[in-house]
Amino acid sequence: MFENKKIIVFGERDGVPGPVIVELLQSIGADIVYSVTECFV
């Protein structure tokens, strides 16, 4: 699913923070190009 894909992570302070998502996705070899923890809009 993540093969040959660049991954953008939008974490949220009150939900799942960016660094947690990054750690989980990197554990399965995903290529993260951008990660942020905040409200998007």
Binding site: V16, V20, L25
Partner: protein
């Protein structure tokens, strides 16, 4: 708005067809607005993605398709609590619908 600018730059650099987004927000409405922005453009018509249909594929870290790929012990340690607090079924239903719309956008852009 800075995030929208960054996403636009990443799509220009890597190609939107090569990008995927994974969200961690807890409210379904917020997830819908974010995924709509990244798929069909900024619905508030105020940011750099206004009128920009990137058609990105957007997932949530708690969706079953992602959960199935993550080692079980790591998932339990990091996400089990959040999973209990979020309506993952509503989240998945909403994101699936937006991903279908995103596929239509991508098909249109291939034809053009």
């Amino acid at each position: 708005m800075d995030n929208q600018k960054t996403i636009k730059r990443l799509a220009d650099d890597h190609g939107s067809e090569n990008l995927m987004v994974v969200l961690g927000a807890t409210d379904v409405e917020g997830v819908e607005i974010t995924s709509e922005t990244l798929t069909m453009g900024d619905p508030s018509f105020s940011g750099p993605l206004t009128g920009v249909q990137l058609g990105l594929q957007v997932y949530h870290i708690l969706e079953p398709v992602i959960k199935a790929m993550i080692p079980e012990d790591l998932y339990r340690e990091k996400l089990e609590m959040q999973e209990m607090l979020i309506d993952t079924e509503a989240l998945q239903k909403s994101l699936k619908k937006i991903r279908e719309e995103s596929k239509v956008i991508n098909l249109k852009s291939v034809k053009e």
